[in-house]
Amino acid sequence: MSKALRAVWDNTYGLLVDDGQLALGAIIALAVTWLVAQIGGDTVRENAGWLLYLMVLGLAVANIYRAGRSVHRSKMLR
């Protein structure tokens, strides 16, 4: 039973998380957006979506670029 539950958990986790740092970064971006929308005024809340968008763009580009750089470094070390 625990094996089956473990398999269900692994599959569900695998659907959402491929790279831990990317997933963690996304959750932090979502939390920051939620917090800013809660504590900011009306104008800030209305524009919170753009803040999330910019954070996601930065996160995606930085994470993918880092993955590419690490392949590049490992090639250069060989």
């Binding site: 790279d19 990317l22 929308a37 753009w50 763009l57 995606a60 993955a67 392949v71 590049h72």
Partner: protein, 255 residues
């Protein structure tokens, strides 16, 4: 809802689901053509029933019971995690860092593994049933997830998403049945790139709505969010191709 509006609303779900159906169909075809059709069809039918139960309970409960704002936040979160995962993999594939998804190669590997397992004519083929069940269920869960995510805005959106997924399923299964070979002509890597960007876009849009953000022109801002994301990813692919030594790219493609 008229047919044109339904077709537009169903398109994201149709494209995203088609990719998943192609992957599941490859495995079911491999089982069917090597071990006979009864076991994989039974496995696929069982998986379809399991999926119908998941969508009927979770999907309808999510859309009808949970308050809209909370639901948009929850679905936005899941879509963003799901979409970024697809997008990352797709960009790394296009940059030559991760091997491209090759349906023909997967089909050949699956056929070889299934042949190696052997088959006794007198017994029910449990291997074939389980392999087909797992493939259809796993890819189907992704389809269910896509349907629930695109349909999170309410019953109209949910209906459109269901129609999109059903149309994709009928088209892919119909084509595979007619051709009796994996659908290698489907530009799966490109579709995954677009779908990853689309899921991420909807994730940003809906989470923003969930926290009370206002998008200029409401849903009309979605193409701009998507366009910016695709442009950023395309630039990243170009940048990565520039820094990677040629040898690394060739080696990665042959993984």
């Amino acid at each position: 809802m008229d047919l044109v509006t339904l077709a537009i609303a169903a398109t994201p779900s149709f494209i995203a689901s088609a990719v998943e159906f192609v992957e599941a169909t490859t495995i079911v075809l491999a089982v069917g053509l090597t071990r006979g059709w009864r076991a994989p069809l039974a496995g696929s039918a069982l998986a379809a029933l399991t999926l119908a139960a998941i969508i009927a309970t979770l999907g309808v409960a999510l859309v009808t019971v949970i308050p809209e704002r909370f639901l948009l936040g929850l679905v936005g979160t899941l879509l963003l995690l799901f979409g970024l995962r697809w997008l990352r993999k797709a960009v790394l594939r296009f940059a030559g860092i991760v091997a491209l998804h090759n349906e023909e190669e997967i089909y050949r590997r699956e056929v070889a593994e299934l042949r190696a397992q052997g088959l006794k004519k007198t017994e029910w083929d449990w291997v074939g049933t389980v392999v087909a069940y797992k493939a259809v269920l796993l890819e189907g869960i992704e389809v269910a997830f896509i349907v629930i995510s695109f349909g999170a805005k309410g019953m109209t959106a949910l209906n459109a998403a269901i129609w999109g997924a059903v149309a994709a399923g009928v088209m892919v299964i119909g084509l595979a049945s007619a051709l009796r070979q994996p659908l290698t002509a489907v530009p799966e890597n490109l579709l995954k790139f677009v779908v990853g960007a689309m899921l991420t876009t909807f994730g940003v849009f809906w989470f923003g709505e969930g926290v009370g953000a206002e998008w200029p022109g409401d849903a009309a801002s979605i193409p701009f969010i998507l366009g910016g994301l695709l442009l950023a990813c395309w630039l990243t692919v170009r940048l990565l191709r520039g820094i990677l030594p040629e040898g690394a790219r060739v080696e990665a493609r042959n993984v």
